[in-house]
Symmetry: C2
Subunit: 422 residues, 2 copies
């Protein structure tokens, strides 16, 4: 029976163990990795009592520290959430293995055979806040992509994280992989987080899962390479040639179906030629769905439900039943508004005009651009990636929903027959 609790040591020592494990995980077969994940799911269910007890201890501590309802909700596990965590592990096991994919291959005039091969990154560092499900989700994706996961969760979820990480470690061991393929840093002091993001030479890729304070700390301190999962100030633009019924369905869905997530609509932009007929209707509809609206003068003159917006409001990611509204004269105005206030996440146009759609797709600079569809589709599952480790709003390495491929690199392999350079 392998140890349940990851022994812990200095950050440097944990880093060395993670690197050593990564060398073995990189060479593991797909079957081995899948077995590790399905065994981890079984172990989590077998140990359900212990895992939930550990989580209750974290929740009790948070409650007695006066944490808010949102924090408690993110932290709390129950049977249903544990089951869904296990489903997540099995889903990742069922996804195609990205490692070994030949991304490109060709022969040079001198006979050299060149291939670009998809390979693991090595050690993926995940730094995250009080969400124990990230421990399982992120570790599973790292492992499936042939990496070891070096996890640094927060103090508030430490007991839950230890219990979940132990199941993943034991799953790895039972599949013949090193337990250190999943390694939780149990030292949750703030200074350890800063040291964590400076483990250059150990962490090949850092993925933060958290809010602005965490991102700012990383921009300030990190020396390891990272991929940022940034804000989503997502717009829906209703063009003059929009089907207004479709626009209403898309807007209501994008704003209200799950307002707390990054791909929810935060800003509505309406062409002035349809604003007179459309804005009163959509404002009333959103108002009745509990959405508070603020807008510019033209928008407010058309719908009494719309309050006064400041420039800050147009740039805000509300993550709530709130939205800003702007009226623009034409497509150029819409693109300018989005360029000025958008966060480069997901931007949608509703239109039946092919040229307007083409210009919007070409000229709006964002991770995802949608034509006649809800911004809520910008998600790893919805776009067919199977699972996601986050949604990148940066332009390097990965952009948009990040699935298994975002957790890999590529290596040139050159086969010769003795060629030398002239």
């Amino acid at each position: 029976m392998p140890e349940r609790v990851s022994a812990n040591g200095s950050l440097e020592e944990l880093g060395r163990r993670s690197v050593a494990a990564s060398r073995l995980v990189a060479l593991a077969s797909t079957s081995q990795k899948n077995l590790a994940l399905s065994r981890a799911a079984e172990l989590l269910l077998e140990r359900q009592g212990d895992v939930l007890a550990a989580n209750r201890a974290d929740v009790a501590r948070a409650e007695s520290a006066g944490a808010g309802a949102t924090v408690i909700d993110r932290l709390r596990l129950g049977e249903a959430r544990l089951e869904s965590m296990c489903d997540g592990l099995r889903t990742v096991a069922s996804l195609p293995d990205p490692v070994g994919e030949v991304v490109e291959g060709y022969v040079r005039p001198n006979g050299l055979r060149v291939e670009r091969l998809r390979v693991p990154l090595g050690v993926v560092g995940i730094i995250y806040e009080n969400r124990p499900n990230v421990t399982a989700d992120a570790a599973a994706l790292c492992l499936k992509a042939g990496n070891s996961a070096l996890l640094r969760g927060s103090s508030g979820a430490i007991q839950s994280n230890k219990a979940v990480a132990a199941a993943l470690r034991d799953g790895a061991v039972s599949a013949g992989l090193p337990g250190d393929a999943v390694l939780l840093v149990e030292d949750t002091r703030h200074e350890t987080a800063e040291q964590f993001v400076q483990l250059r030479g150990t962490i090949d890729c850092l993925i933060p899962r958290g809010g602005k304070a965490l991102i700012d700390m990383i921009l300030e301190r990190a020396t390891v390479p990272f991929v940022l999962d940034g804000d989503g100030n997502c717009h829906v633009y209703v063009d003059v040639a929009a089907d207004l019924d479709m626009a209403e369905r898309i807007i209501v869905n994008a704003k209200t179906q799950r307002p707390s997530v990054c791909n929810a609509m935060e800003s509505l932009v309406v062409h002035s030629a349809v604003a007179g007929s459309f804005l009163p209707r959509i404002a009333a509809r959103l108002h009745s769905a509990g959405v508070a609206l603020v807008g510019d003068d033209r928008a407010r003159s058309l719908a009494p439900e719309i309050g006064v917006a400041t420039a800050d409001d147009f740039a805000r990611e509300y993550l709530d039943l709130k939205a800003s509204v702007a009226v623009v004269d034409d497509l150029d105005g819409a693109i300018d508004h989005i360029t000025c206030y958008g966060s480069g996440h997901s931007e949608a146009i509703v239109t039946a005009d092919l040229l307007a759609a083409e210009r919007f797709v070409r000229e709006v600079d964002a991770a995802a651009v949608l034509v006649n569809a809800s911004t809520r589709f910008v998600d790893g599952g919805e776009l067919g990636l199977g699972a996601e480790v986050g949604i990148s709003t940066q332009k390097l390495h990965a952009r948009g929903p990040m699935g298994l491929r975002a957790l890999t690199s590529v290596k040139y392999v050159v086969h010769g027959q003795g060629q030398v350079r002239q």
Copy 2:
């Protein structure tokens, strides 16, 4: 007649101009971009007298400041180098345009059509040392990939850089593109370099072209995303199953054909079973080619030309007619040695043993792994990329020689018919 000299202002102002230009360059047609590059080549030749005079002024300043021969050589332009700079511009014009490539496309079960489209990065910042050819090479690649180039060269090459950048700006203007597509920061103070790497929100990708001091400054200070072009401590491993004549040709080529570049061999690793016959021969051959060798005890016992190596010597990038030599017991020993001392650039094996080659390819973690070929082939031109902006030794975004694609990002484009999320 457009202005020859780029007007200059504060870094923030230059950044804003570069961003504004990037929006237009991103939408430029391939023909426009190609015209801009071929016009720039024509202008450089038309202005040859002025460009070379500007360069002579830089060289004179460097000489009176007592700069070494290498620095002067890198700085100096002549008719041949200017011609080769122009050839480079025409080569980039002849390459396929990466922008607009559909990287992937599929339809989801709900009818959403998803495409991943290759798009420009936006503003690419290049920070570099005294090599005026980088001004033309890097700017051309940025422009062809639909980006604006924000260039920060060093004070030592400022007159040359201004003259070269002016030709590129004027070439852009004569093709109907903004001159600011190529913008040289003329303020060459050290503190400006630090501000440059902190232009977050302006520079979408920073590519440094320089030595360790520059890289360290970037790791310490940069807040913009960057791609590092790191050291190359490249190994050639001679396996027990190597064709020793082939091994000799490859080693001599990899070490001596151009010792000053990052893909030259710096370390030789030999299987003990062939070391007795091979090491005396290759050591004599390298010695006669002027190569100074240092090695471990086993290597030294076999060849009198080999001096004593310290552990530091095995990790060193000599960039000179020097190399380290190690004898290992088997393939595992070779892989361990490379894992311990390599810099993740280019690693070669010489062997006729298929299984040894497969293990080497799989287990050596480097940007490029070569079987029976010289490490000198790890170069954008040799691998068919047409031109390169550097060789990345990092694992995120781009790894190995970076061509035009490394200067692009990818955008999700989702076409629906009114779909909303359930």
